[in-house]
C-alpha cells in the first residue's frame, strides 16, 4: 500500500496496463508535449501522442485503432468536451461490436473529469454520468477513492468494450491508500463504504464523502446509515442496493447531477419496481437542482447536495 492522491492513482492504473500490454495507447490534448513527460519517456511516441483540439477525430481515431486491435485511452480532461463529439461516443464506439455481429471489439477508455464545482461556472461543472449510463454497449465508471481510481482504470483498459471513465475533479488531490503492484477493481460490484441498519444511502464520486460525513453526524444522534458506492453505474450492482434495502426498508439517493438527468432517478425506478412493497417510506433523492451551475461561490454551493441536505433527507425517511 502507498498513500497517494487520486489523480496519481489514475496514472498508476494507466502505467500498470501500458507496461503490461504494448497495445495500450494514451493520447489527448496537451498531453506529453515534452520528451521527458513520464508517459512519453516510458512508452515512446508510437503509443503516447499529443493531439490537436479535435475531439471528434481523437475519439474516432480511438474507435478505429480499437477495431484494429489496439487499446486506446483518450485523455479528454473534461466530460463536457465529449459533448463536442457525441456521435463518436454514443453512436460509433458502442455500436460496432453489435452491428458487426461480434466481428470487431472496440476496447477503449474515454477518460474525463467531471463535477468541477470550484468556480468553473456553467460549462465545465456538469455531472453527465446518466447521459452515458443508458447507452447500450458503453460502460461507465465513477471512482470515489484513490484505490478505485487505479483499479477501475486498469479494469477499464482490459475491458473489450468502450468505457467512459469519469474521475471527479473535486477528488483530484484526495489522498488514499492504493495497493502496490497489479490492482484491478471489478465492474458491477458496489462497495459498502459504511455498514448500517436504519437507512440505505447510495452515492457516487464526490458525493460519497458527503454521504459519509452525513452518516457520521447521524450516528451521533443514534441513526445508523449504510452508505453504498456503486463505483460503476453501467453495469450497475442493483443487487447490493436491494439487499441493503431489504435490511433497512429506507433509502436516500444522492447525486450531484441535475435531478432529471441523474443516475439516482434510474436507481429510484429500479428500487420502486423491485422493492415497492418492502419500503417503509418513499424513496428520497438528494440531487443537484435542475439548473445551470452558477459561478458565484455561495450560489454554486446552494444548488448541489451537501451534508446537511443528506442528513435532512435521512431524517425525513425515518419519520
Amino acid at each position: 500500500m502507498a498513500l497517494m492522491p487520486y489523480i496519481a492513482a489514475i496514472d498508476e492504473g494507466i502505467h500498470q496496463e501500458m507496461r503490461r500490454d504494448p497495445n495500450v495507447l494514451y493520447f489527448g490534448q496537451n498531453l506529453a508535449t515534452t520528451e521527458n513527460h513520464h508517459f512519453l519517456a516510458a512508452y515512446g511516441s508510437d503509443r503516447v501522442r499529443v493531439t490537436p483540439i479535435s475531439e471528434t477525430a481523437e475519439i474516432g481515431i480511438a474507435v478505429g485503432a480499437a477495431m484494429a486491435g489496439l487499446r486506446p485511452v483518450v485523455e479528454l480532461y473534461m466530460a463536457e468536451f465529449m459533448l463536442v463529439a457525441m456521435d463518436q461516443v454514443i453512436n460509433e464506439a458502442p455500436r460496432f461490436r453489435y452491428m458487426s455481429g461480434g466481428q470487431v471489439k472496440v476496447p477503449l477508455v474515454l477518460k474525463a473529469g467531471y463535477g468541477f464545482t470550484a468556480g468553473w461556472a456553467g460549462q465545465h461543472t456538469g455531472s453527465l454520468t446518466a447521459l452515458f449510463m443508458g447507452v447500450p454497449g458503453l460502460k461507465v465508471v465513477v471512482p470515489s477513492t484513490a484505490a478505485d481510481a487505479k483499479g477501475l482504470m486498469a479494469t477499464a483498459i482490459r475491458d473489450d468494450n468502450p468505457v467512459v471513465y469519469l474521475h471527479h475533479y473535486m477528488l483530484t488531490l484526495e489522498n488514499g491508500e492504493v495497493p502496490d503492484g497489479e490492482h484491478l477493481v471489478p465492474f458491477g460490484r458496489a462497495e459498502i463504504r459504511r455498514a448500517g441498519g436504519d437507512v440505505t444511502i447510495v452515492a457516487t464520486g464526490w458525493m460519497v464523502a458527503r454521504a459519509l460525513s452525513a452518516a457520521l453526524q447521524l450516528a451521533k444522534q443514534g441513526i445508523s446509515a449504510e452508505v453504498i458506492d456503486p463505483r460503476t453505474v453501467a453495469p450497475l450492482d442493483l443487487e447490493t442496493i436491494l439487499k441493503s434495502i431489504d435490511k433497512t426498508g429506507r433509502v436516500v439517493l444522492v447525486d450531484q447531477a441535475t435531478r432529471h438527468a441523474s443516475v439516482s432517478g434510474m436507481i429510484a425506478a429500479d428500487i420502486a419496481e423491485h422493492r415497492f412493497n418492502s419500503l417503509k417510506a418513499p424513496i428520497v433523492q438528494v440531487t443537484g437542482a435542475d439548473t445551470t451551475i452558477p459561478y458565484s461561490e455561495p450560489l454554486e454551493a446552494y444548488v448541489i447536495p451537501d451534508e446537511a441536505r443528506i442528513a435532512a433527507a435521512v431524517r425525513r425517511v425515518l419519520k
Partner: protein
C-alpha cells in the same frame, strides 16, 4: 513514383469485380419489386462507382484494411466476402455477414479486411485514421483505405482527421467518391470549392497533403492514381486525398417511408428533383461497366464471347445469393441479446 498498369489477367479480374458489384446491386434493387418487404430500412447502391471501387482496391494486400460509409456493398464483394452472406445480411437472415444485426448500411467482414461501416456521414473517416495508426505502429507496410462521399467533406470529422493524419503521416488514403450529389443537394449548393469551380481535391492543401482528382469511371486511371497514393503511404510518406469523380446511377437510396408503404427506388435526383434529363442520360452513356468492357474488348484483353460468359456466370452467382438469402430463416430472437456482441 508511378505504378505499373495492371496486366491482362488483372484487367479481367477488375472487369469481373465491376460486373459482380453491378449485378449484386441490380439484384438488391430488384428485390424491392421481386420480393416486396424483404428488405427493410434504407439501402444505398454502388452502381456507377464500380470502376472507382475496383481500381482503388486493386492494390489491396493481406493486412490492409478498408472502411466505408453506408453505401457499402461494393467493397466487401471485391475483397472476397461471400455474396450469399451479404445478401442474407441485407435480408436480415441467418447466415448474414453480421448475423442480421447490421443490415445493408453496416456490412463488415473483418477476415477480408473490411473493418467497418458507419451510417453517419463522415464518422468513419477518423476510424480509418485510427486503423492506420495501428498499421503505422506495426510497421509491416500496411495501409488503410477510407471511402466516403463528397458530402462527408463538409463534416468536421473530415477536416479534423485530415489534419491529424497528415501531421502524423498515417498510412491512409482518403478516397472521396464525388458523385456530384449529397443526397438530394448538388455539390455547387453546399460546397464552396465546387461553387467556385474548383475540384474538391483542393481541400487537401489546407492539410499539407497531396490532393488528386481522377476520372472514377476509368478503373485503370483510378488504379494508377490510388496506387501511387498507396505506395506513398506504405513508404511512410503520409496520406493523400483522392477525389474520384463518378456518377451515382441510382437514387441516393430507396424511398424513406413508414411501415405499410411498399419501398422502391425512385428516379435519380437529377431527373426527379432537378429535371436534368440530359445530365442523367449523359451519365448513362458514361456508365463505367460497359465502358470498361468496350476498352477490354477493343484492346483484345477480353473477347465479347468471354465477356458474355462472365456475365452469365455472375448472374448465376447473384441469383444463388438471392435464393440463399430468401431460403434462410430469421435469426433466433435471443440472438438480439447475445452477450458476445452486446455486453448488457
Amino acid at each position: 513514383m508511378s505504378v505499373p498498369p495492371p496486366d491482362s489477367d488483372r484487367q479481367v479480374w477488375m472487369f469481373t469485380q465491376m460486373l459482380r458489384i453491378r449485378t449484386f446491386e441490380e439484384r438488391v434493387k430488384r428485390a424491392f419489386t421481386d420480393h416486396p418487404g424483404v428488405i427493410r430500412g434504407h439501402t444505398h447502391l454502388a452502381d456507377g462507382a464500380e470502376g472507382s471501387i475496383v481500381g482503388s482496391l486493386g492494390h489491396f494486400r493481406e493486412g490492409d484494411a478498408a472502411l466505408s460509409t453506408y453505401r457499402c456493398h461494393g467493397y466487401p464483394l471485391v475483397l472476397g466476402s461471400d455474396p450469399k452472406a451479404m445478401m442474407a445480411e441485407i435480408f436480415g437472415r441467418t447466415g448474414g455477414l453480421c448475423k442480421g444485426l447490421g443490415g445493408s448500411m453496416h456490412l463488415t467482414d473483418v477476415k477480408h479486411g473490411f473493418l467497418g461501416t458507419s451510417g453517419i456521414v463522415g464518422a468513419g473517416i477518423p476510424h480509418a485514421a485510427g486503423a492506420a495508426w495501428a498499421a503505422q505502429i506495426r510497421k509491416k507496410g500496411n495501409v488503410v483505405l477510407s471511402f466516403f462521399g463528397d458530402g462527408a467533406s463538409k463534416q468536421g470529422a473530415f477536416h479534423e482527421t485530415l489534419n491529424i493524419a497528415s501531421l502524423w503521416k498515417l498510412p491512409v488514403v482518403f478516397v472521396m467518391e464525388n458523385n456530384g450529389y449529397n443526397a438530394v443537394t448538388t455539390s455547387a449548393q453546399e460546397d464552396a470549392n465546387a461553387a467556385a469551380g474548383e475540384p474538391l481535391a483542393v481541400k487537401s492543401k489546407a492539410y499539407a497533403m497531396p490532393g488528386v482528382t481522377v476520372d472514377g469511371n476509368d478503373p485503370l486511371a483510378v488504379y494508377g492514381t490510388v496506387g501511387e497514393a498507396i505506395e506513398r503511404a506504405r513508404a511512410g510518406r503520409g496520406p493523400t486525398l483522392v477525389e474520384s469523380k463518378i456518377y451515382r446511377l441510382s437514387a441516393h437510396g430507396n424511398i424513406i417511408a413508414p411501415p405499410g408503404v411498399p419501398l422502391h427506388y425512385p428516379e435519380h435526383e437529377a431527373v426527379a428533383v432537378f429535371g436534368k434529363r440530359e445530365e442523367y442520360a449523359a451519365a448513362l452513356r458514361g456508365d463505367p461497366v460497359p465502358r470498361f468492357r468496350g476498352t477490354l474488348v477493343q484492346s483484345g484483353v477480353l473477347t465479347a464471347a468471354k465477356a458474355d460468359e462472365l456475365a452469365a456466370r455472375i448472374a448465376n452467382e447473384m441469383q444463388e445469393a438471392v435464393t440463399f438469402a430468401l431460403d434462410s430463416p430469421f435469426p433466433k430472437l435471443e440472438s438480439a441479446l447475445d452477450l458476445d456482441y452486446n455486453y448488457a
